[in-house]
Symmetry: C2
Subunit: 317 residues, 2 copies
């Protein structure tokens, strides 16, 4: 069992579950992102967690696919709200199919996710998982609301920022690992440990992602998107708190800022060590994720989970 | 037990389940429609169906609330897509809170619906109901896609129109009655009969609704909305097929048509008996719904269900 084998199983399962063809326009839009690759991080975590507590990873496949579909649904709707035009190196769904179809395609992906999750065999477990997914989706909406509201604010406390990314991003990693452990029949201690692992990994992942926005290569969207959108990232928050002259603010959140103006802000973020601060925070969370795995018995799956946390704060895209 | 008692129990349950308060903006938007009244038709049908097969109607409450939340979610998103500015006599969610928050509020209502449905006690039944709700939501998206696509077409076959409203509207009535019967422990014959009842009632309801758009009073949105949006209703389809001179088409689907131009089209629909044709179709479906109840044992709940079908094609709003 390696991660690639899991990824292939998930890719295949996504293809099988998304069998719908008509109405053509709707389902072309529905399939636009799920069939465009993607790292499948959340489903892989779910399958590894399931395996780490002693079950075949395949048992977690319906749940894993449901997670990926919910993740994709949030991308489709977020891109509308954020007016992001690119995703996974392709036009965003609303750019290609128009906003109405994009809203609908997101809704259909969301519905499909719950249908797929209902294919979990054990009814008692299916019920728990479905409830958890629903609560998770609700919290993702809360996180997204905070994220777009923060754009209009000049400053956000680090604590509020961490709450926002916990809801918007980390919850899904948390549920991926926890749900995989529940489906795999893990005991209470294991489920809790994997939940903690997932949450910390999600925090690390999101903070590192915000760093990639200013230093990344080939991330499937233009460098500096967050700056143009005025996102209150940890980098921004640190820079704001630690700069006396806030001249750089004038171009932050300007959709029409030039490449030079963006580069200047990034250079300033480097000088003031804001990127370093955020990177270190991400690395701390990754370490916390790995630490949480202590109570999990040794296995290849556990090693892979630890590797994922290490990789989350090393990746360049 | 009367319908009012059920409605009050549902209103109360909606209030209890929607306990979330923060982020304030999101949950104000989430609660805007569910707390603004509404006839609660779908939840009432679910509770009556549950009772008609011999169980306390209260057993169906979580399911009934889930239905109403899904219904509300579709209204919120549809109003964005259709650019409808009023709903239930109030500003639509996107008019009051902006489009981004409206997209999110719809998503949160959708998530919340699945959370509430997961409170159905029996796990095996919960799993079936959750799957049915997910498939239903998917089909509603398909119906909505057809509806907005039809707006751009000059003509749509009656068969296609019926397929569209079956998905967009009737499915939810079908699932309401069927799900209520399943939760109530109905036997196969009863579940099937109530499913048929719900579907036919839904068809009757939607076709009558389209009639109200041209003859209605106090329907919570301006008369002639469908005409301005170029909706391909049964009235339009009949009028199109039966008119040689299609002069009236020039103002159909014109957002900026004057009241006089709208009135002229409505007058023409009357003269050519298109409204009568649609009304009769709705009445036929209502009769079919009542007929489907034949196999259900006599009870007050059964009578109420029959009354609802009668009322569906009598109401003026």
């Amino acid at each position: 069992m390696d991660t690639l084998e899991i990824k292939e199983a998930i890719d295949k399962a996504i293809e099988n579950y998304l069998y719908e063809k008509e109405p053509i326009l709707l389902y072309d839009a529905v399939k636009h992102l799920p069939f465009a690759g993607g790292k499948r991080l959340r489903p892989i975590i779910a399958c590894l967690a399931c395996n780490a507590v002693g079950s075949e990873f395949t048992k977690a496949i319906p749940f894993a696919v449901a997670l990926e579909l919910i993740h994709t649904f949030t991308l489709v709707h977020d891109d509308i709200m954020d007016k992001d035009e690119e995703r996974r190196g392709m036009p965003a769904v609303h750019k290609k199919f128009g906003e109405n179809i994009a809203i609908l395609a997101g809704d259909a992906l969301f519905a499909k996710a719950f249908e797929v999750a209902s294919y979990i065999k054990d009814a008692a477990i299916a019920k728990i998982i479905l409830r958890n997914l629903a609560i998770m989706a609700k919290e993702i909406c809360e996180g997204q609301e905070m994220d777009i509201r923060f754009e209009e604010m000049e400053y956000v406390e680090e604590k509020m920022f961490l709450e926002m990314i916990e809801k918007k991003t980390a919850k899904m990693f948390e549920h991926a690992a926890m749900g995989g452990a529940i489906i795999g029949g893990g005991n209470e201690k294991e489920v809790k440990a994997l939940q903690e692992y997932g949450k910390s990994l999600g925090m690390a992942f999101q903070i590192w992602d915000d760093c990639l926005d200013v230093i990344g290569k080939d991330i499937g969207k233009p460098v500096g998107s967050d700056i143009r959108e005025g996102k209150k990232t940890l980098i921004y928050i640190y820079a704001y708190k630690n700069s006396e002259d806030r001249e750089w603010l004038k171009n932050y959140g300007r959709e029409d800022a030039s490449k030079e103006e963006i580069d200047e802000i990034i250079k300033f973020f480097e000088e003031i060590r804001a990127i370093e601060y955020a990177k270190n925070k991400a690395i701390e969370f990754a370490a916390k994720a790995i630490k949480a795995l202590d109570v999990i018995r040794e296995s290849e799956a556990k090693e892979k989970l630890a590797e994922m946390a290490e990789f989350a704060v090393k990746r360049e895209k």
